[in-house]
Subunit: 165 residues, 2 copies
DNA sequence: TTTTTTTACTTCACCAGTGAAATATGAGCC
DNA sequence: GGCTCATATTTCACTGGTGAAGTAAAAAAA
């Protein structure tokens, strides 16, 4: 159904790479469907994706702490948004901010015991959905999907580097 | 690098379906990278993804027109946002709004000659990037990726239908 | 050592998208 | 015909995210 539009386009503009257009449309669609699914299951815990990811990184980091800058890199969020995320998590007592001593420009953000308990309680509620997403995927399917996604990601990285058009 | 976090998590919470967690993280990541790439190449034309999609649907529809409601279905945007998209496109003279005669609740949105010219000019500029995304993908790779993405989409649909937890 | 440049984070103003309520019309029922 | 219910679109208030400018401290240059 989604492909029809591309077909009709293809008639009018014959040099359109129609199969790639369909693939990228599909990829975009599934990506945002997955995102919605995740946000939906996160909602009862009053977290959005980026807050969740940030909290998970802190939880699984060796000393349970990091800095806004690092968290930006890991989550690919902008610094501006990381400030907001920090505020939100601090506001709920899941993390604390403190001044860094070795470099006074920096801020340390550390997960609290409260935050750890919260993660331990909410994380398992995501497992069933996670498994449900991949029912019917053989071992080989999963490997293939991983391989193809990584290849696509590499291509995207390369496109980025190329002098901007 | 992204997998390490999941590994460490997996130690602490052994019943986490680690490979699926990685896959879904990867899928999420590539999806949003692709989205960014698209928005980036659309930016010079002062369109965002949803405006572009809406315009493309109008362009490739038999009579060049539709209604907000239909466009919401095709683009999976909310009605609210479709109002904004309409305003934006009307504001640039690419489409026009008119009252529907058979059902006076409805609005017809039709692409203008100007809008058609705009599409014909801007669309081809996307082709090179589109091809660039899939360099190194064999025919079979493309089919596989399509198959796996559709399977994932089906699973997500099924998850949606299931009584909400 | 002072000056300049770079880095880390925050603040502010804005863009894109959402849910809930408002408005208006159409459809089904008595 | 009037009443109730459903549908189509818009408006409003809000969330999540971004870019540009501001602030402060560290690092590099003079």
């Amino acid at each position: 159904m989604m492909d029809e539009g591309v077909e009709r386009l293809s008639d009018a503009l014959p040099d359109l790479p129609a199969d790639k257009a369909k693939l990228s449309r599909l990829m975009l669609m599934v990506g945002s469907r997955l995102q919605e699914e995740l946000e939906h299951t996160l909602k009862p815990h009053r977290l959005n994706h980026s807050e969740f990811l940030t909290l998970m990184i802190l939880y699984s980091s060796p000393d349970g702490s990091s800095t806004p800058g690092e968290l930006c890199d890991y989550t690919s969020q902008g610094a501006t948004n990381m400030t907001r995320i920090g505020n939100a998590l601090v506001g709920r007592g899941l993390v604390v901010r403190s001044a860094s001593e070795e470099d006074r420009r920096r801020v340390r953000i550390g997960i609290t015991p409260n935050g750890r308990r919260f993660v331990q309680k909410m994380l398992p509620t995501l497992f069933p959905r996670l498994s449900g997403m991949f029912v019917g995927f053989s071992e080989s399917d999963q490997r293939q999907l991983g391989r193809l996604l990584r290849k696509l990601a590499d291509n995207l990285d390369r496109l980025d580097e190329e002098i901007d058009r």
